[in-house]
């Protein structure tokens, strides 16, 4: 993968465009404008100030020196038990909020809401020398005060109509929510439904919408039927953890957090049931992405990239996905072998105990029994290590394989936007040719119509071009943000994994140190 310094900054749209764009947006779909520019404005305007374009560097300490929030997304993923009292002890999204020291500015720390949109429409323009580095630093300023946790899986109903309901608890000081802490009950299809809604939104095109965990017919059937065996328990825990990570990723995304569907998901007591989730069954998500990719690949007109950033990045993403898949398969194998080791160790421990019983030398007999106990403890250690392997390592990889699929999806969306633009251009061309022909044929009514159509298509071309540029910008920003998050995520998970290993090793040492005197006592 190329280092970030290799990237060329995107050709930034000219300064008047965002305004025009904004008013266009405002005309067409106020939702869109709100989503895009509120997102932009959050980090930027907080410190830069609305009414003072020259106040860009007014608060350097705030903007550039404030340290990144310390807690990356940590996952309470079944390794530690959920403590109902402090639900948020382990589930944290970004913590710090920027406090602007602007004396004359509004209270900018209260973020978002439709009313702030118009006051920030200057900001992109005032962002003039916005290099990629500054874009990156803006991302660093993303700060949200939202904690979400998914807990308490409970079976509702009986038989094949039964389902698991999960408690989704939110704690936030953001004004857009009705209260500071609240919780709702949601089922798996609700999560899928949320994804469904988000993924079709035009306004979110170019955004990396986190994909939900996959459906599993086998797993769920066992749960429905009421089997209480350890594998069902593990299945439910795995799903709960995956849903939690999913929703945490959603709320940590600045645009998505603003989305009314997300808010509804978190707040509304009775959510209408999502019905169109069949497409997302099993490996459905990735299948969907791949189908879309194929459609794009079949495009006859190849896009002429003015800058290679997109091509290079796409290649990187594909490579990385390959690597992760390979790694995931290996970690899966590791988990299985460790589970085997557990089984074999348990069996061996029993055998040792029997041997100890047979042994007629008392001290040796006791030592062998002790050895059997140590091996029993080792089995437990292996069990925990296997859980750690799985929940920390394997699930991380699985998540990112799906996320990379989503990233690829964004690139495809951009391509399709480009396609639409090109098609509009060629249609416009045809209309113009038709007009020319009509001029010669001298048919005034048809000419008028042709002129109207041309105007319409000119507008469309402009619109689609702007869409394309906008998506391009979004994709860039999203990818940057994604890479940051990914690095943080991996780092924190690997550290967690190593720490679990450390603990396990220390306990191992204790067990054998306790055994040693027994062995020495043999006479």
């Amino acid at each position: 993968m190329a280092a970030s310094s290799d990237r060329n900054p995107p050709p930034f749209p000219s300064s008047e465009e965002p305004e025009a764009g904004l008013s266009d947006m405002a005309d067409g779909d106020s939702d869109e404008g709100e989503d895009i520019f509120v997102n932009n404005s959050n980090p930027v305007a907080v410190s830069r100030g609305v009414s003072q374009p020259d106040g860009v560097n007014e608060e350097p300490p705030d903007l550039f020196s404030e340290e990144e929030a310390s807690n990356p997304i940590t996952k309470s993923n079944g390794v530690h038990s959920d403590d109902d009292n402090d639900l948020f002890a382990e589930a944290h999204v970004e913590l710090s909020t920027d406090k602007s020291g602007n004396s004359s500015g509004k209270d900018l720390s209260s973020v978002s809401g439709p009313r702030t949109t118009s006051s920030f429409n200057q900001s992109p323009a005032s962002m003039q020398p916005t290099s990629l580095e500054q874009l990156e630093e803006e991302e660093a300023k993303d700060s949200f005060d939202v904690d979400v946790a998914v807990t308490n899986p409970e079976k509702v109903g009986d038989g094949m109509n039964a389902y698991m309901a999960y408690k989704v608890s939110t704690r936030s000081s953001l004004p857009m929510f009705r209260s500071k802490t609240f919780s709702v009950r949601r089922r798996f299809s609700d999560f899928l439904g949320l994804y469904e809604k988000l993924s079709v939104k035009q306004s979110l095109h170019g955004c990396i919408v986190p994909p939900p965990p996959e459906k599993s017919v086998v797993g769920m059937t066992k749960v429905k039927v009421g089997m209480d065996d350890p594998s069902s328990v593990e299945f439910v825990e795995r799903r709960r953890a995956a849903l939690e990570r999913y929703i945490q990723r959603v709320v940590s995304h600045p645009s998505l957090l603003q989305d009314p569907d997300v808010r509804e998901f978190l707040e509304r007591d009775d959510l209408p049931r999502a019905v169109n989730t069949q497409a997302l069954s099993g490996a459905g998500f990735l299948k969907m992405i791949n189908k879309a990719s194929d459609a794009v690949n079949k495009m006859t007109i190849k896009m002429n990239e003015s800058d290679t950033w997109f091509e290079d990045k796409f290649q990187e993403v594909e490579n990385e996905e390959q690597q992760l898949r390979k790694l995931h398969a290996l970690v899966d194998s590791l988990v299985n072998h460790r589970k085997e080791l557990c089984g074999n160790t348990a069996v061996f421990a029993k055998s040792m105990a029997m041997l100890g019983n047979s042994e007629d030398n008392t001290a040796l007999s006791r030592a062998l029994s002790q050895l059997a106990e140590v091996e029993d403890k080792m089995e437990q250690l292996h069990q925990e290590q296997a859980a750690s392997d799985f929940f920390i390592f394997a699930e991380l990889l699985a998540d990112y394989i799906r996320l990379l699929g989503a990233v690829r999806g964004c690139f495809d969306q951009r391509m399709r936007a480009w396609q639409r633009w090109q098609e509009a251009q060629s249609t416009l061309q045809k209309k113009r040719e038709a007009e020319a022909k009509l001029l010669w044929a001298n048919k005034p009514e048809k000419l008028q119509q042709a002129k109207e159509e041309i105007t319409e298509w000119e507008a469309r071309v402009t619109q689609y071009e702007r869409d394309f540029d906008r998506i391009g910008m979004t994709v860039r920003k999203e990818v940057l943000r994604f890479e940051k998050e990914k690095a943080k995520d991996f780092k924190s998970q690997i550290i967690k994994y190593l720490e679990a290993m450390l603990q396990s090793q220390q306990r191992l040492i204790k067990f054998w140190e306790a055994f040693l005197p027994e062995a020495k006592a043999i006479a």
């Binding site: 072998h337 080791l341 069996v347 061996f348 029997m354 030398n361």
Partner: protein, 380 residues
């Protein structure tokens, strides 16, 4: 590496070791080196090349020797088995194209280590066999043993002759009939009654434990291999080192625990063989009693029958006496060996865990200092 039995090479009058060995395809050639102060040998120090089959010949001739019927003959060393690493090497060669250079190199390294471990193990086992003999008051004086140590020509001619002479008859009988015979005979002596019960029970338990220990260490090896593949893909330091530690833990446990169990399983079989021989002698004695009674009834051939009976009794008594000595010694030996091995195993576990603990700790520390600028370090 005298890890399995107690220190055997103590008596300076006859010191034996296998300082090196060659592996040619299937065959392993051991160099048996002897240092002695005994006048029965021609030279004070000498070395001869020997194959595995020579060891088997020596073992079998000892077993077939009547005079040693009352002794526990040290179990024959098992045939060198390079099947597992060889198969893996083969698979590795086939899969070379699908791996990165680094992964291949690492796997190759692991395999070579495994090969080496098997090699060391087989040398050790053959060495211990000889040392058991040299430290036994009676067996060390055996003529064939001396020939084995000294004869600088190829032993294969002798081996063929021996096969023709004995035909492995006795050995085969022992293998198939001992359980029945031993449990069938009514025991007159408390000591042997107890020993019989104990050994039969212990044997089945230790056989079970050996099998389970082998499975466990195989799982460990699988995990070590997984870590190699993972680290190759991940290219991260911590996974690298844990590979070595996991691999080493697996091979150390293999050497210590599994080998201990395996060895004593075989030794107990040898002890059972002794019991069998004694049981047979007892049966012979009982039969000779019956024959004597019959002869007395018929008043025919009484002196022969009497003599035969006396011989059987004498043989049985001799066996019982030496058997008791052997079995008591065996008990003590076993306890000491277990003690030594268990201590060494525990110490090794602690040592390795501490080492890997330090390494894991330092890696965790290093990772926590990595900035959030890139996840690229993980993927190359």
């Amino acid at each position: 590496m005298r890890s399995v039995s107690v220190d055997l090479n103590n008596d300076a009058s006859l010191l034996i070791d296998i300082p090196d060995a060659l592996c040619e395809r299937d065959k392993v050639k051991f160099t048996v080196h002897t240092k002695t102060t005994l006048s029965t040998f021609q030279k004070p120090e000498f070395s001869v090349p020997r194959q595995h089959e020579d060891f088997i010949w020596l073992h079998d001739t000892l077993v077939e020797t009547e005079d040693y019927a009352g002794l526990i003959i040290p179990p024959a060393p098992p045939k060198p088995d390079f099947e597992s690493p060889r198969e893996k090497m083969h698979k590795l060669g086939e899969g070379e194209a699908t791996m990165t250079k680094e992964e291949y190199a690492k796997m190759k390294q692991e395999l070579e280590a495994e090969y080496l471990a098997v090699f060391k193990k087989t040398v050790q086992v053959h060495e211990i066999f000889l040392q058991r003999l040299s430290s036994h008051p009676m067996l060390s004086k055996d003529r064939n043993f001396q020939i084995f140590l000294e004869y600088d020509q190829d032993l294969s001619v002798r081996r063929k002759n021996a096969k023709e002479m004995f035909g492995g008859f006795f050995k085969n009988m022992v293998k198939s009939a001992d359980e029945v015979l031993i449990s069938g005979i009514k025991e007159v002596d408390d000591f042997f009654e107890q020993e019989k019960t104990f050994l039969l029970d212990y044997y089945s338990k230790i056989k079970d434990s050996t099998a389970k220990a082998e499975k466990m260490t195989r799982s460990h090896k699988n995990i070590a291999d997984d870590y190699i593949h993972i680290s190759a893909t991940l290219n991260s330091i911590s996974a690298d080192d844990s590979t070595k530690v996991e691999g080493r833990v697996a091979s150390d446990q293999e050497l210590k625990l599994t080998e201990l169990l395996r060895y004593y399983m075989r030794d107990i079989q040898a002890a059972k063989d002794l019991l069998y021989r004694r049981a047979r002698a007892l049966a012979d004695y009982e039969n000779s009693n019956k024959a004597l009674d019959k002869a007395r009834l018929k008043s025919k051939d009484i002196p022969q029958a009497e003599e035969h009976q006396q011989q059987c009794l004498h043989k049985f008594d001799k066996l019982s006496e030496s058997g008791k000595r052997e079995l008591t010694g065996f008990k003590g030996r076993r306890v000491v060996a277990f003690r030594k091995n268990l201590i060494e195993m525990a110490e090794l576990e602690i040592k390795h865990a501490k080492v890997s603990n330090i390494m894991t700790g330092s890696h965790a520390e290093r990772y926590s200092y990595f900035g959030t600028w890139s996840g690229d370090i993980y993927f190359n």
